[in-house]
Chain length 288, copies 2
């Protein structure tokens, strides 16, 4: 029986949230563990694990393995959000409408919780029984999360606050900050599906770019209530975004172009690609 | 030809420093990569990788593999030092006589460099060809570095600053902060030596405890010039240490007892255990 995109999306999210809630970081007297659980439970779109599972499903692959890997990626993502919110970084008091980790637990615990979530991601992979695949996951995760991936992208992001960023710099920031973990999620899904890691590479890169452009547009045109966060923050923080660098019209054209590219790249999948197609269309017009 | 303990120690350190210097984090325009290299190059005793290699050597094991794993542990250790020095943690401006990472590069880059060094440790392990051993290394590293190891220990350390810590709490702090990575190093050496991971467990736990007690004693009785850091810091920061909790006399007795235990636990190795024996004796009386 075929189910609708919305139902499938909800089903994926429910699986992901169930998995993440089942992870016990440590006993409750460990404040670091409590801070980790707080940030992991604070929701979000779970877009990265959704991509991992959907890619594996499109290949009739091992869904449980993709779920585990996707949740590892989500932990890395959550770690970067905790550290991004710190006063020395973006200094955000709110995350998804709730106090950010350091507002709730203090800065020191937020630093430690972010660190421990990076390690917790590898803890998940350490439980994958197929050692060959497990090591492929380790490689994908490390490449995406390290100084050449997320870490480097955040560094360029900081540097860009005090210089005027051009398109090349913007792509450098984006390749690390957003694209790296979305690509990692798709790679994990491909591995769990028995394919070479880069099977969904074009899809993931275009989808990641479209996702970021939409994010940047929403910071200008979005509805604060629907978004659950303030808008206009990028300009206030002198951030380099696709809207500030390209202008709104070109940013919207780029969003269309990247969505089309993502769709094209998975034509080869036929019916199996239906969820991934709907996801690209959904993200193009999302309002939160 | 038998070489002296001092020569062997120097040889190990030279191997370790050569390995660590050979790691290219990323291009020089990436400030995060520069901050990582700065902190990795800032020296230190390299005690963790030394233990990894020495344990493998005592088993006639794979020295190159132990070196790689030991350097992964050293990266995790360096990451924790960078984050420990942050203003929201111990607020230390100096590390081994040089500006700490955040004094040199700013807080944001120090946060990112610490994060990226955690990931870089797994990058090293991703290059180990034997997938079965590589996954054992991932497990050992994750267990030691996560919220149940280093991360949790640091958390208890913060909590103890505002409460009066007893011996149980001190051991909780210590088990994470120092013992976890020393045990991980010994486990890596055992794996590279073809033994079960816990082959050197008693040795590592006693050595780790002795190492920490000596550290706490030196904060009271040490020579600032030889140590390359200020003394009296623990009391000033209201830190729970073996000296503040046990008293100096009992701390010194515990140091002797743990050193003896470490020595006893490796009697089984005979001549092969000579370096490990000398190391325990050396650490007992070290003045830096």
């Amino acid at each position: 029986m075929k189910i609708s995109f919305d139902s499938q999306l909800k089903q994926y999210r429910a699986m992901i949230n169930e998995y993440l809630e089942s992870v016990e970081f440590d006993s409750d007297d460990n404040i670091v563990a409590r801070a980790m659980a707080y940030s992991i439970a604070s929701g979000g779109k779970r877009i990265r694990p959704t991509i991992a599972i959907a890619c594996a499903d499109a290949l009739d692959g091992d869904r449980e393995m993709a779920l585990a890997f996707g949740c590892a990626v989500e932990m890395i993502h959550t770690s970067t959000l905790i550290h991004d919110d710190l006063p020395c970084m973006d200094n955000d008091d709110l995350r998804r409408g709730k106090p950010s980790c350091h507002k709730k637990f203090g800065e020191a615990y937020a630093v430690l919780a972010g660190d421990a979530l990076l390690i917790a991601a590898y803890d998940i992979i350490a439980k994958v029984e197929d050692e060959k695949k497990a090591m492929e996951f380790v490689k994908v995760l490390s490449e995406a999360s390290g100084v050449r991936g997320v870490g480097g992208g955040q560094g360029y992001d900081i540097a860009a606050e005090t210089t005027s960023a051009d398109y090349d710099m913007l792509m450098k920031i984006h390749s690390g900050k957003t694209a790296a973990l979305i690509l990692a999620a798709a790679r994990g899904g491909a591995i769990a599906g028995g394919e070479r890691p880069d099977f969904f590479k074009e899809y993931a890169l275009s989808l990641g770019l479209a996702f970021q452009i939409r994010d940047d547009i929403l910071d200008f045109e979005g509805n604060e209530e629907k978004l659950g966060k303030r808008t206009g923050v990028d300009v206030a923080n002198n951030k380099a975004t696709f809207v500030t660098v390209l202008g709104m019209q070109s940013a919207k054209a780029a969003l269309e172009r990247e969505t089309d590219r993502a769709l094209e790249s998975i034509q080869k999948l036929g019916d199996k690609g239906e969820f991934l197609r709907s996801l690209a269309l959904h993200l193009r017009t999302r309002d939160n």
